[in-house]
Amino acid sequence: MNYEELIKQTALADERIVVMTAENRALIRNLPAVLGPRFIDTGITEQTLIGAAAGLALRGRVPVVHALATFLTLRAFEFIRTDVGIGKLPVKLSGFVPGFLSDGNGPTHQAIEDVSLMRGIPGMTVFAPADEADMVAMLPAIWASPQPAYLRVNTRPGTYEHAPFEIGKAEIVAEGTDITIITYGMLFEQTLVARELLQAQGKSVGLINLRSLKPIDEAALLDVVRRGSLIVTVEDHFITGGLYSILAEILLRHQLTARVLPLALEERWYRPGCLSAVLEYEGFTGHHIARRITEHLGESAQAIAEGPAVLENEFAE
């Protein structure tokens, strides 16, 4: 089952589903013939796309809306906030090539403030699957919910077998006493590698795939904090407003503190290139993540092994 197959089955079973796009058809290219008038391409018009989606939702439809994550969350931000947000309408946003997945496009296409923007809208829910299987496991609940939702689309193949999904629940992959890595989206695969490399160095390493960023699994995060390990937040997002901020907000709300190492993008856009080159340059391969954590602990990272090669991205746009 892939994304397109899932949306096709869902739409054929539920007349309310309308598939919309601002001319980004990579994921849904076969749907016009299947859905007829329930496939609406508005052209390169993210704002009109969202306004029209709000109108369709007013009529009882559940629009699943596709555009590149940057243009969706930035160009159309005020339409999402004002028409979908204030209207509390069940518009489902699928943001394509978020974070590092827009690898070679350059900073115009880098959605690395999308989590921050979307979670700031009252009522909006925010999700980031670890891979395509995770995404397909998550989407039925997200589309069935009456709330608006933003999804970081991730069609990368994964190796990890995911647990069933529940909105607001994180997936606890492993618990650890020395280090706990918390991540979301496409960097999950690299954190899996980092965990193995650190375990090989004798560390006890926990790993959490958050899946749902809003609502956030506060209980799972507080549990990690109380266990007292080093917490490492790993995200392809600006450090402001993403996971590191979410964790800080939770800690402060509970009058707690913790040892936290944030791995995120600080005050600059990332260097464009092939995905493997981007992760290498920016220090987000499994190998680099393991080294950065080890060095943060004041230990030598010399012995950290190389990880497997990074699988290149399937889509350029």
Partner: protein, 305 residues
């Protein structure tokens, strides 16, 4: 230029055979519009409201809700109803005044203007029955109305979807973007109405971002256009009864209006968009509505945006 020819209509045959407006009917509408203007004037104190922009739109709203739209207090949930979207949300006093006169809301609610006990504030919201969608941020409702029109078309309905914009609002690119998309998708059940009162917030439109010639712009975006006097009920009837203007294009009706219409003391003035008058001035202005003799205003003009 705007087409003067009536297009052959494909549906709504009842409208086609409806006689032109009788003088009796016209008098009824004029009377109601005067009452709506009284509501607008009464809202223009204790915090004030967008008086000038509301007065230009009053005749249009009175006509639409009284004569054209299949929208009544008892069918607001009917999916087959006609839809009116007020994209220039700051003229909401004209909308609420019309709602009071037609029994959508109690007059007492207008006394709650700017009270946090109610939802009567400077822009429309769905806590007021009859408001289809909130507005205030310009350039939004053409696309929201487009979505509604797309769904009505998908379901084979023949209801009307009307969206009213200001003329200053046409500065917003999203108005044009949504028309481009509407004409590409042949959404002919959508009608965009421009309240062409010739002013944006603080400046005459033609002195800031000139909009003329307006009709050819809409025509170039794939719309069928008519231009009328937006204070003349017979012309309103003539134009709206001819909807849809085309089998395949969105319709546009440009209503030439006067900002502040009905109050000679503030008519066509750039500095009387948002007004907050004293209680005494309100009394004088209510008299002015009836006498059409300009009163002397002493309250300061406001530049609120």
């Amino acid at each position: 230029m705007a087409s003067e020819n009536k297009q052959p209509k494909t549906n709504d045959q009842k409208r086609k055979t409806k006689p032109f407006m009788t003088s009796e009917n016209q008098q009824k509408l004029e009377k109601m519009a005067l009452k709506v203007r009284e509501h607008i004037v009464r809202l223009s104190t204790d915090g004030g409201c967008f008086t000038g922009a509301s007065l230009s739109c009053a005749d249009l709203l009175v006509y639409l809700y009284s004569e054209l739209l299949n929208v009544r207090p008892d069918n607001l949930q009917d999916p087959n109803r006609d839809y009116l979207f007020l994209s220039k949300g700051h003229d909401v006093p004209a909308l609420y005044g019309t709602f009071v006169e037609l029994g959508f809301i109690d007059k007492a609610r207008l006394d709650q203007h700017l009270s946090t006990d109610d939802h009567i504030y400077w822009h429309p919201n769905r806590n007021v029955p009859g408001v289809e969608f909130h507005s205030g941020s310009l350039g939004h409702l053409p696309s929201v109305a487009l979505g509604v029109a797309m769904d009505c078309k998908m379901r084979g309905q023949d209801n009307k979807i009307i969206v009213i914009t200001g003329d200053g609002e046409l500065n917003e690119g999203t108005v044009w973007e949504s028309l481009l998309v509407a004409s590409a998708h042949k959404i002919n059940n959508l009608t965009l109405v421009v309240d062409r009162n010739h002013f944006q917030a603080n400046v005459a439109t033609e002195d800031l971002i000139p909009l003329e010639p307006m009709a050819p712009k809409f025509e170039a975006f794939g719309c069928e256009v008519r231009r009328i006097d937006g204070h003349d009920f017979a012309q309103l009837e003539d134009a709206f009864a001819a909807l849809p203007f085309s089998d395949s294009k969105p319709s546009v009706i440009i209503c030439d209006t006067v900002r502040g219409r009905g109050l000679p003391s503030i008519e066509a003035r750039a500095d009387r968009w948002f007004c907050n008058f004293s209680a005494d001035e309100i009394e004088e202005l209510l008299k002015e509505l009836h006498s059409q003799v300009a009163t002397t205003l002493t309250s300061e003009t406001l530049t609120v945006r």
